[in-house]
């Protein structure tokens, strides 16, 4: 059952225009080629075809955290990480968990009446990378792409994302990854919640929406906790939710046809001074913790195992 409409008076009686993915595709086809002012794009989107539950997912493009440590290099003069040659960035892993959570909410409504839009604020986007949530099944992608966002702190990211979500909104639920794998600040979702004046619940391992509330099981060490918040709300998602689904071939093809809605900072009435960092990076380095490992080697691997046990006993470690 799709959730009942709550805040917005719909101009058509319920059921007159059942929402369908085909209609989304149609709308995107007409709205998303960047040829019209952003207000027109958003106005067109907020048509009577409006779905009943709108979910925003925040996603960030990050350095692939699974690169071998030998490839992780820091430029200590410029205070930045040097991206390894030929390795594409990825969508932050926890943000894919958040996408998965959104898609599960849509699945629970049998795909009806739930729309999932992915938001990202940054610059130098690799479109194929940022389309991954679309290929998993998300409906729309909104990129705030502005050179001024090249190096901003989490407070600025939150401000920009909140403005984009508000402009494209209203939204019922904002899902974010629990933290980003580069700066690990786990701060942005709170800023979005504070700007939108809604509650923020963190570390979800399950997210369900029912009757205008979101129920969250939180992933906490040594305990199980369930909370409920009225919509609209911000929820951060942890990996305990489960692996993000693999894009299907159909999903990849559908994503290929969708163009993102692209916004610039002036579209959001945000000036460069508004996003000046409060947290200023002064030094970045790779900590030296290399210690000499004593390799235990027997004539074969079985003997290595035996010698290791004896060595540990000698050191009184076992």
């Amino acid at each position: 059952m799709p959730p009942a409409p709550r805040r917005r008076p719909y101009s058509l009686p319920a059921g007159a225009w059942a929402y369908s993915p085909a209609m989304t595709a149609l709308k995107l086809h007409f709205t998303d080629h960047g040829t019209r002012p952003i207000d027109a794009v958003v106005a067109a989107h907020n048509s009577p075809l409006e779905p009943l539950l709108r979910i925003a997912v925040c996603a960030r493009q990050v350095l692939d955290p699974d690169i071998p440590p030998s490839q992780f290099k820091v430029d200590e003069v410029a205070n930045c990480v040097v991206p390894p040659q030929g390795i594409a960035p990825v969508v932050n892993g926890f943000d894919l968990n958040a996408t998965e959570a959104a898609l599960r909410v849509r699945d629970a409504a049998s795909g009806q009446g739930v729309e999932v839009t992915v938001f990202s604020a940054g610059t130098a986007f690799v479109l194929d990378v940022m389309k991954k949530p679309l290929s998993m099944g998300a409906d729309r992608l909104v990129l705030v792409d502005d050179a001024a966002l090249a190096s901003v702190d989490s407070a600025a990211s939150a401000r920009v994302l909140a403005a984009a979500i508000a402009k494209d909104g209203p939204y019922d639920l904002v899902l974010c990854g629990r933290q980003a794998s580069d700066w690990d600040q786990a701060q942005t979702p709170f800023g979005i919640a504070e700007a939108l004046g809604v509650p923020c619940v963190t570390l979800a391992k399950s997210v369900t929406v029912k009757g205008g509330t979101v129920r969250v099981d939180r992933a906490l060490p040594g305990m199980r906790q369930t909370v409920e918040a009225p919509l609209p709300a911000v929820v951060t998602v942890s990996n305990e939710l489960g692996e993000p689904r693999y894009p299907t071939l159909r999903g990849i093809m559908a994503a290929g046809r969708k163009a993102p809605v692209v916004m610039k900072l002036p579209d959001l009435n945000i000036a460069a001074a508004d996003i000046a960092p409060r947290v200023v990076l002064r030094r970045l380095y790779v900590p030296q913790r290399h210690r000499a490992c004593e390799f235990i080697q027997g004539k074969d691997e079985a003997e290595s195992g035996r010698l290791l046990a004896l060595r540990l006993r000698q050191e009184k470690l076992i």
Partner: protein, 326 residues
Amino acid sequence: MTTALVAGEIAGGLPSPVTRQMLRAARQLTGNLPVAAFLGGNLAPLESSAGSLAASRVYLLEHGALAEIGGGYEAAVDALAALCRATSPDVVLLAKTDFGANTGPRLAFRLGSAFAQDCTAISIGANGAPTVTRPVYGGSATAEFELSGAMPAIITVRPGAYEAGPSGARPELVRFDVSAAIRTPKVQLIETVSEERAGVRLEEAAVVVSGGRGLGGPAPFKLLTELAGLLGGAVGASRAACDAGWIDHSHQVGLTGKTVSPRLYLAVGLSGASQHMAGCSGAGNIVGINRDPEANIFKEARFGVAGDWQKVLPSFISTVRDLGKL
């Protein structure tokens, strides 16, 4: 003079050990006794124990909405924001616990001030601005940040980064009225159930046997459990192994899992990505068994075997068993 406020936590009716660590951190930062604040529905039991804290003053913020602050932490943010506005500290310190990680960032946005998460060291820079050191990129790099802009700077500190401070400063106890500041919380706590398991607690185990992606499936964790049993230890796992469903997430060690500090940490089929090492680098001795001699685990291990765990582990276990019989 820099003034610091420690937002304290209560465990079993007493100031929690991490709060005593924050008081030490605050004193080292400013050179003075800090001010502490506690939140709760009924703080009368705290009045006797607060006298032993190393603080100059303890604010007691008591309100019905603060009785159960877990979940949304909305009332906690309202209350701390009111206290900060009234007392204007330069720095607010919280432990990076569920309380700190939920209250700290939102408080910073409420006050329009700078925030830094999970810091391992804090100091005051030459220009008087708070400066923090924190691991970034999952622990692959370390960053130093200066917190500028509106005061107070809000900082969460990694538990264990500072030792608990000495006690006995006989702080002045002050009740601070937050009734006007607290709005009715929207988030409702439905239930909290403790999920303690039988056996040795991972966080307290003297020996941890951990498995990673290299194990290839759930079955080898039986072998690890057997070994942990022989050594009186607990079983850990990398996030990859947990996410694959091979073992429950309660075993996850790492940046977003549990932090362990055993005497012996035996990592099997585990590459030792920095995100994992963030959870076990406090171990006394790390031992790695991994096929790849270049694996990151050997950069932090004291002993290692570069070989296939399927061949190494059975003879290791049988030798451990034989040694146990001696």
